[in-house]
Amino acid sequence: MSVELDVFVGNTTIMDEEVYQLWLDGHTVNDAVKVRMEGGVMDECEASKDVLLSDTMDQYRTFQMCERLLHSPAKLANQLLFQIPPHRQIMLIERCSRDALIQLTHLFQRSHNSLFLYLFVKPPPLCYVSSHGNLFFVSLSLFRYYAFDDTFVREVLGKKLSKGTKKDLDDISAKTNVTLKSCRRQFDNFKRVFKVVEELKGPLVENIRQHFLLSDKLARDYAAIVFFANNRFETGKRKLQYLSFQDFAFCAGQLISNWTVGAVDNMVEDMDVDLDKEFLQELKELKILITDKDLLDQHKSLVCTALRGKTKVFIEMENNFKNLSRGLINIAAKLTNTKDVRDFFIDLVEKFIEPCRSDRWTAADMKLYLTHYTNSAHILDTFKHQVVWDRYMGVVKSCIFKMYHD
């Protein structure tokens, strides 16, 4: 005999945090049951394996039903299908650790600019969200749903979010050790966010945050992913392998807030997703710094004077100055080409970071050098493009700082 049908539906939706995570991680029901058994949940209520299996399947179904709503959080707030009444929260509140709560509250408060009631309970591991029923549930489950693995995202970063890429997910899954199910969810999340914000005006991060009810950090990460996907930055080359997703996310943040149209005018369509074309044009003007011999020498002497005696690698800096300067300025001058925009990061590594690294510059050396390199240009009398220079070097400088590690 076999159980043909087995459902449990409460007027109040019961969600188990642990199972939710297992579901998100793409575990099968049987795997999840195994994990839970090892976790000792069985002892809690004299449960048997059958009970656990039935409960896990039930939870999985609930999550699947939620998933539709999680895809369009706009529906979540006033959805009628699930109910989490407030009384339960109180009950749960009384049991949760204060520290965990405060931590969580900070995390979410900052991100939402508004307040939700976050409850975090352990044990038993249940999690509910809301100031008012649904919200709590919404936020925390959303937060989890839209969370992603850095290793996974590193693989797809800068790739076109298309069907073609989706087909490669099984390879990525094998490579990153993230289950295929989880990979698909994450990839679909990227795509969904991309599709929605593509059509929206206004600041990218803000849009993502508000539209998907995500935390600030997560919204920024998504913005980075969207931005990379849109500009198709090359991140897969071997030379870039040492960079983590967080490195790129930081750089993306810099680019978004300084080089996009939105950095100047915040009411333009696609403002944060595309680079400011005018600015890229203006970057050509910087070429004067390397084409004009006098200017180049003057720049070099200014930098060298400032650096002398302050670093162990001064000789290397002096010798390499012209090469490094040419490298940076050439990158700037070429950015009008889409192809070269894509290679932005690889160029930075090849033209600047690698030479420095082979000369064994420390991070402090790098910081010192770039600071003086940027500042000295202001003193050059004949150099008129101070604004563009600052806008360019500001970003490049912080990107290189972030990227200059092993």
Partner: protein, 1179 residues
């Protein structure tokens, strides 16, 4: 008399994409009532359309208002082809028809499609203007209130309880009409939903008419059921208790300490207001607001109508006639009356024999057959008629009935004994009634008199004098097509029969009333088992009218004031002339009157009953295989099996009761379901130790013949049983007050006697059943191991695992031994279907499977609800069905409620504080009441809520881990969001937001109140709310990117609690908004894609809950009490990737408020209403 129904379609949201090309929808709405249809404009290219329609007005008869639902259909406009339906909403406008209930229905309703489920939501406002109808001959019964609750509703008092009302309507099932072959499944489903909605409306109206005729104004304990008879049609039937209810003014403080009986004060006088029609109340309860001592009964002038039911000679069983009756009855007659009596039923359409069943002489199924023939002779005419009619009959059905009677050992044999006096009475009554009222209208009133039945399960203290025991009757019928839907005589007659049977059983127990009465059916193909059961009882004669008083005069026992906490246990029958063999002892409480050793009832534990320890759920489960058969042969086979099943179930119950060291069962419900090749029996009850009753004896094991099984084996089993009993005593804290055996009354029977008692039931039945012949004769031992079966039985006895620590369970309204509920409530429904793969199953194997199924379900619940510990599963209602051969379906609906483990409340200082905050939170749950007229708030509040709203956390010190959130309703932080952000999306948001703000305000208020004394460091966060205006297209266009986020914050989906109980812990019901009675069909042709059968049913049940909640919220309510899932019929065809499910749910929509914060809410409600221009500042 016409009424005017007005409906307005405001907006839609989350609509599905109907046009693939644009990913949008061109939606419009059709509003239909009766034969009138209105349409809104098409709202092009939007998934969140704003129709904002005019008021559609329907001028209709109030008869139609009661019968018809308002149908709202959302469609997608298509220029070239037919418009596609997105889905429908049926709104039952009945709640708007009585003055005290809802005044408007307004809110978001899920748009439901029988194929796709919920597809978006629609905002609708409905109002009714009703003119008073004084027409005597009207067909409508507007104004009669209906309650599913089986006690007197909390904010009412019963001035009169008139009695039993019943009605049924039949129709053809659209699913089985010829047209079904050509129409789509969707059309068919919708036809069915509509028809059933219509039929329930009609049924309710007809019952209402009966109530009006009786002079009542309400129906309590309204129980409506569907019989899906397949080819032969669709029956909707209902029973209830007609009452005259008075609304308690909200000012009068109700009894707060008991949830169950707000009207606990004893009745002081029986006020009877005989109406000119001679409508007589059956009994009268008067509740003075001051609970003074009862004043003596005051005889009132009444009309000369006969007593409401024939109570005049219940004591006549002591008379010689009765004795004679008994002695005349040959011994052999006994089995005849117990066993399935082949009753004869002739189809009324038969041209020759269109006689009423009742009038068939000696029709065995009726306890009080006509004429004065002694019982013994009845068999002769019976058989002769049978043979006679064999020639003419169109169909013959076999009636089986069996009494599972009182104190667990009644036997059906007693039924016949009362026949004489009863018969006379009945006739007398009928005659008087006829004389008085004329034949035409007698039917109505007769019913109430004829059946002194009450569907109520709990009564005010003192109401119930004595309880006799459970009476039940079953009858197997062969279904036949209903030929004339307007004259459902067949079905009426069937039930009439059963009720007569019940009545005669009650009489046999010396009782004049049946309480906790219910009826049910089980249908398989063309066989139908009708069942009815209740508890025979004697009600307080003080509540009775003059005519009834002779009960008291003739029986000395009624003169004595019986002690409240044991009186109901005292036997109502005469001990010298017991209807069945029973062991009586003197009451362990008062030592004055006799009590049985066990008591079985279908009612709830009376609140005043003295109980030791806690109660627990006791279930008896049984499967019986049956040969597949057709028609009569099948009916006969089933009839033959039934008595054995009842007997077995009873034995199991008895054993399990003893095993738990308890002596009484409450809320007993026995369900027998029929399938093609098996019968399933499930008996559930709540066991309890009544201190008035003697302590139960143990269970003893014995081998029949030494050598069969080693004595060691037996003694090991004996030891296990004894251990279990000891463990259970501990578990349920059964420590009855040690009564010294002072020699008062009879001592506790010796083991010898005890076991005899225990077996006594079998003695009455062993003449007819060979089954237990072996140990039935043996007095000395309780359980005898004579073969492997018996071993199995004992093992299964021990298999019931006790609930894990922290859990208790019961199937009644109140859990014996627990009363300090906290506010945690989780209602749930669980369905499990088991497929039996093994074709060669034995009865034992099946029993094991079935028992495991039930036990595993319970285990699952405990696990799922572990976060609620300590908690109790209340009102566990199991329903079994055999949907197909080899399938067993169990459906459970119950509620888990948390309670305070500390029996004494003031244990620690922080306890009350926590409680306070808890209740403050609770306050959140009656938001809609505040916006009583939400239609106006829709427009006005938007401008009203420009004030600041704030909310505080109670001092961190108090609730160490508690953080309260303050959120400015999502209306953009006006501080950091640029002006464009302050704009608002669609208008409905204003509505939601207002509710939300009221909530906040309310909550702020409460918390402030609560924290005055206690809080020191109050973190307060205040956010100003920018003034909201109704959407202007200009703003809408600009704020596209932010719109969605705007609506997040405004989320104020009302939290609607549901419970199968009549109360919600920690709250008081302040208003009943009307009955919820909804019927849904869901069908799919893509079962796999929807997650298989489990996925399909899971989402369907969740959708049903959502729709119930939405309807309640639209009525302005925040809870459903007495919720039940009446029907859950699931059918699948995995090969075709198809499944279909029907669900019928019902309950009472209510507004409830936290018990402790009543005044505060009243004041906040006021400020809420006036718009409260003031700012709720920080404390």
């Amino acid at each position: 008399m016409p009424g005017k129904l007005k409906a307005k379609i405001v907006a839609g949201r989350h609509l599905p994409v109907m046009d693939r090309a644009s990913d949008l929808t061109d939606a419009f709405v059709e509003v239909k009532f009766g034969n009138t249809t209105f349409k809104t404009d098409v709202c092009p290219k939007s998934l969140n359309p704003q129709w904002n329609s005019e008021w559609f007005k329907f001028e209709v008869d109030d008869e139609d208002l009661q019968d018809e639902p308002l149908q709202i259909t959302v469609l997608d406009h298509d220029t070239y082809s037919a418009n596609d339906a997105i889905g429908k909403v049926y709104i039952d406008i009945d709640p708007l028809l009585y003055s005290e209930a809802a005044s408007v229905i307004s809110g978001w309703f899920p748009i439901y499609d029988t194929i796709h489920g919920i597809r978006g939501e629609i905002n609708v406002i409905v109002k009714v203007e009703l003119f008073n109808d004084l027409n005597r001959f009207r067909q409508s019964s507007c104004g009669v209130k209906f309650f599913c609750t089986t006690c007197i509703p909390q904010c009412y008092r019963a001035t009169l309880v008139h009695g039993f009302v019943e009605e049924l309507v039949v129709n053809e099932d659209p699913e089985y009409q010829w047209i079904d072959r050509i129409r789509t499944p969707r059309a068919s489903n919708e036809a069915r939903q509509r028809l059933i909605s219509l039929m329930s409306g009609e049924l309710q109206r007809k019952i209402g008419l009966k109530v009006l005729e009786m002079g009542g104004n309400a129906v309590v304990g309204y129980l409506q059921c569907f019989d899906l008879e397949g080819e032969s049609g669709l029956v909707v039937r209902a029973i209830g208790t007609a009452c005259t209810l008075d609304k308690l003014s909200s000012g009068s403080a109700p009894n707060t300490n008991t949830h169950m009986h707000p009207n606990t004060a004893p009745a002081s006088n029986a006020c009877n207001s005989p109406s000119k029609d001679g409508k007589e109340p059956v009994f009268v309860e008067d509740l003075p607001s001051s609970s003074g001592p009862p004043t003596p009964f005051r005889a009132l002038p009444t009309s000369s109508s006969p007593p409401p039911f024939s109570p005049s000679k219940p004591c006549s069983r002591q008379s010689s006639s009765s004795d004679t009756d008994l002695s005349l009855t040959p011994k052999t007659e006994e089995p005849h009356s117990v066993r399935c009596r082949p009753g004869i039923f002739l189809c009324p359409s038969s041209p020759i024999l269109s006689t009423d069943t009742l009038s068939l002489p000696g029709s065995g199924s009726v306890g009080c057959g006509r004429g004065s023939n002694p019982r013994a002779t009845t068999s002769a005419p019976l058989s002769s008629i049978q043979s006679d009619s064999a020639l003419l009959r169109k169909s013959v059905s076999f009636t089986e009935d069996l009494l599972l009677a009182a104190s667990g050992m009644g036997s059906g044999g007693s039924a016949g004994k009362e026949a004489g006096p009863l018969r006379t009475l009945l006739r007398q009554q009928t005659q008087t009634a006829l004389e008085q009222r004329g034949a035409s209208s007698s039917g109505l009133l007769l019913n109430a008199r004829e059946f002194p039945f009450f569907t109520l399960t709990s009564f005010p203290p003192g109401f119930l004098l004595h309880v006799g025991g459970v009476v039940s009757a079953r009858s197997v019928k062969l279904l036949d097509r209903i030929h004339n839907p307007d004259e459902p005589e067949t079905r009426d007659a069937w039930w009439e029969e059963i009720r007569q049977e019940i009545k005669s059983h009650a009489r046999a127990l010396g009782c004049h009333a049946v309480v906790g009465y219910s009826e049910s059916t089980s249908i398989c193909e063309e066989v139908c088992i009708l069942s009815a059961s209740g508890t025979a009882a004697i009600l307080n004669p003080r509540y009775m009218r003059e005519g009834c008083l002779d009960i008291g005069c003739t029986d000395h026992r009624f003169e004595e004031p019986s002690p409240p906490n044991c009186g109901f246990c005292h036997i109502p029958y005469d001990e010298l002339n017991m209807p069945f063999p029973a062991q009586l002892t003197y009451c362990y409480h008062c030592r004055r009157q006799k009590v049985p050793d066990v008591l079985f009832t279908t009612i709830d534990l009376p609140s005043e009953a003295a109980v030791a320890g806690k109660g627990c759920l006791i279930q008896a489960r049984l499967c019986r295989l049956k040969k597949k058969a057709q028609g009569e042969a099948n009916a006969t086979a089933i009839s033959n099996l039934l008595p054995f099943m009842e007997y077995e179930l009873h034995t199991q119950l008895m054993n399990k009761l003893k095993l738990r060291s308890m002596n009484a069962l409450f809320g007993l419900h026995i369900q027998i379901s029929v399938g093609e090749n098996m019968l399933l029996g499930l008996a559930s009850a709540t066991g309890v130790y009544l201190t008035a009753l003697p302590a139960p004896g143990g269970i003893q094991i014995a081998g029949k013949t030494p050598g069969d099984l080693s004595s060691e084996h037996i003694s090991s089993i004996q030891k296990r049983i004894n251990d279990t009993i000891a463990v259970n005593k501990e578990l349920y804290q059964i420590n009855p007050p040690e009564l010294a055996e002072e020699g008062v009354g009879s001592p506790i029977p010796e083991p010898r006697h005890r076991s005899r008692l225990f077996r006594s039931h079998s003695e009455s039945s062993d003449e007819l059943s060979e089954l237990d012949l072996s140990h039935g004769k043996k007095d000395a031992f309780v359980l005898e191991i004579d073969d492997t079966d018996a071993v199995e039985d004992i093992h299964s006895l021990l298999i019931d695992a006790p609930p894990p620590t922290g859990f208790y369970s019961c199937n009644t309204e109140n859990m014996p031994g627990i009363s300090n509920w906290t506010s945690g409530v989780q209602m749930f429904t669980s369905v499990r279907v088991l497929r039996l793969s093994n074709a060669n199953l034995t009865n034992q194997g099946l029993n094991k499977i079935f028992t495991d199924l039930c036990e595993n379900l319970l285990k699952s619940f405990y696990f799922k609800l572990r976060s609620m510990i300590p908690c109790c599963l209340c009102h566990l209602n199991f329903t079994v069905a055999v949907p197909e051969e080899e399938l067993i379906q169990v459906t459970v609906t119950a509620v888990a409620m948390t309670y305070d483990k500390e029996q004494t409340q003031e244990k620690t200082a922080e306890k009350p504080v926590n409680k306070g905050s808890l209740e403050a939170e609770e306050q959140l749950q009656f938001p809609l009441e505040l916006c009583a007229d939400s239609s106006s708030s829709n427009i006005q509040t938007a401008s009203k809520i420009s004030d600041t709203v704030s909310l505080f956390t109670p001092a961190a010190k108090l609730c160490q881990n508690q953080l309260l959130i303050v959120r400015s309703a999502g209306v953009g932080e006006s501080t950091n969001i640029s002006p464009r952000a302050a704009s608002v999306d669609y208008g409905s948001f204003a509505d939601r937001c207002s509710t939300w703000l009221e909530l906040l305000r309310l909550k702020a208020h409460t918390i402030r109140r609560g924290s005055v004394k206690t809080s020191r460091r109050t973190q307060s966060l205040a956010h100003s709310v920018s003034s909201l205006e109704r959407c202007s297209p200009l703003q809408e266009g600009r704020s596209r990117s932010l719109r969605s986020s705007r609506s997040f914050g405004g989320s104020s989906v009302t939290v609607v609690k549901m419970t199968p109980l009549s109360f919600l812990s920690g709250t008081r019901i302040i208003k009943y908004l009307g009955i919820i009675n909804m019927f849904f069909i869901r069908e799919t042709t893509s079962l796999r894609e929807e997650g298989g059968v489990s996925g399909f049913l899971h989402s369907f049940i969740a959708e049903v809950f959502a729709m119930v909640r939405a309807h309640v919220a639209a009525l302005g309510g925040n809870a459903v009490v007495s919720y039940s899932m009446k029907e859950c019929v699931f059918m699948e065809n995995p090969n075709k990737n198809q499944a279909q499910c029907l669900i019928n749910v019902s309950g009472d929509a209510v507004i409830c408020i936290s018990e402790t914060d009543q005044e505060s809410s009243a004041s906040t409600a006021n400020t809420g209403q006036t718009g409260g221009g003031g700012t709720d500042g920080a404390t």
